[in-house]
Each structure stands twice: as structure tokens, then as C-alpha cells.
């Protein structure tokens, strides 16, 4: 699925990190549910709704979680960020962002080698407060 998105559809927002489902950089939403797109065959998702980082903003208006990442500096190099944000949107929708500890646990599939975790947690906490979607 990740290769289809990036190489065929040129939706290069979703990143290929480890390509083995360990880093979460490729996280997308399938029917609202987060998955590692590098470990899923595109053909399996015939008829499914795939949401990547490219679909979260409404035109020029950032999604509340995107805006919160900017506000809180929730990244350094930015490579993991599309996956972090897709995962965070689902994490909030699941109701798993009620405390910092809960955010850390339920975001544990998304690694950040720059170590921006404190700011990522801050961003998600704020995003959870503002996000209605």
C-alpha cells in the first residue's frame, strides 16, 4: 500500500522508514483505523477509504493536530511527522489521549529518532482538546 501511494499515486507525504512495520513513519488511516501501510498489500484494500497526511488539512487550513504540532515544535527533521500525525488523529479518536502516560503508550508504535517526544506529547494533548474529528 505504501509503495502504491508513493510511487504510483505520488502521494509522497507518507514516508518509508524501516519498511518492516517497526517505526510507524508510513502510518495511514484505513476506514479511520491506523495501520502501517508498508505491511499491507494495496489490493487487499479495494473499496476501503485510505486517509494519508495529505488529506487531513482542509485546503490551507491545517487539521487541529497538524496545527498543534507546529505550535509545539513536535518535530525536528520531520521525517516521522506524517506518521505521527496520522497516528495521533486516530489515537485521539479512539479516546486514548486522556493523559500524557496514555498518549505515550498508545503512540508507542511511532518512533522519532530526533527524540522530539516531549513536544509530540504536548501537541497531541492540545490536539485532543481542540479536535472534534
Amino acid at each position: 500500500l505504501l509503495d502504491l501511494l508513493r510511487e504510483q499515486l505520488h502521494l509522497t507525504g507518507s514516508k518509508k522508514g524501516c519498511d518492516h512495520g517497526q517505526c510507524g513513519a508510513c502510518t495511514v488511516l484505513v476506514n479511520g483505523r491506523r495501520i502501517n501501510s508498508c505491511l499491507s498489500l494495496a489490493v487487499v484494500h479495494d473499496g476501503d477509504e485510505i486517509t494519508t497526511i495529505k488529506a487531513l488539512a482542509n485546503g490551507e487550513q491545517l487539521h487541529p493536530v497538524q496545527a498543534a504540532f507546529v505550535e509545539h515544535d513536535g518535530f525536528q527533521c520531520g521525517y516521522c511527522t506524517p506518521g505521527q500525525i496520522c497516528s495521533a488523529v486516530a489515537c485521539i479518536n479512539e479516546g486514548h489521549a486522556r493523559s500524557d502516560g496514555e498518549i505515550r503508550e498508545w503512540m508507542s508504535g511511532n518512533l522519532c529518532r530526533c527524540g522530539a517526544y516531549p513536544n509530540i506529547v504536548d501537541a497531541i494533548r492540545e490536539g485532543a482538546g481542540k479536535s472534534s474529528t
Binding site: H20, G24, S40, L41, V44, C91, W106, S108, G109
Partner: protein, 101 residues
């Protein structure tokens, strides 16, 4: 990855027929193990039979007090299911500890 055929099974009989007589055919469920092993050349199936659309996602309470868990139930769904949380909390916690969300 090696070339392979892909078939989406629409009923259990079709799924069984897909692997019958083909030792290198594999069922494809969530795929997070199988696809990873295929990328590394550990698994090289000649045929994948996608069983994701079969009706195997139920969690059912049985009359004798047990629970039947469908083969396609997602770990996170099982871990959050009231029956599992109340009656088998260790299973729920183990599932949540077993993989990242």
C-alpha cells in the same frame, strides 16, 4: 519479493480450495508477519489467499462459559471487548503489551 498470485476468498470453501494441493499457498489475514517475512525472502508463497472478507470477526460467549474468538478479530478489538476485559483481563493486557498500536 517473489511473484505470487492473489485471490480474495468469498467463502470458507473457496479459501480451502485455494490452498488444497499447493504446499506453498498461504492464507493472508492482517499480513503484518507474512508480508514482512516475504519482503525478507523468508516466506516465498506462490499463492496468497486473502481471507479478510470472510465472516470470522465475531467474539461470542458460549453456553458452557467459554468464549469463541474469530480468526480475523483484531488484537485491539479483542483487548477492548467488554467480555475479555471483565473475564480475561490478563489476556486483554497481554494483547495490548504484545504490539504497538
Amino acid at each position: 519479493m517473489n511473484p505470487f498470485t492473489y485471490t480474495r476468498a468469498t467463502d470458507p470453501k473457496q479459501a480451502m480450495n485455494g490452498v488444497a494441493g499447493n504446499a506453498s499457498a498461504k492464507f493472508l489475514g492482517g499480513g503484518t508477519n507474512l508480508i514482512d517475512l516475504m519482503k525478507m525472502g523468508v516466506e516465498m508463497p506462490s499463492a496468497l489467499i486473502d481471507i479478510n472478507r470472510l465472516a470470522l470477526s465475531k467474539i461470542e460467549e458460549l453456553p458452557d462459559g467459554g468464549v469463541r474468538i474469530g480468526a480475523l478479530v483484531r488484537n485491539s478489538d479483542l483487548a477492548a471487548h467488554p467480555l475479555i476485559v471483565q473475564r480475561y483481563p490478563v489476556l486483554s493486557q497481554a494483547l495490548l503489551a504484545g504490539a504497538s498500536p
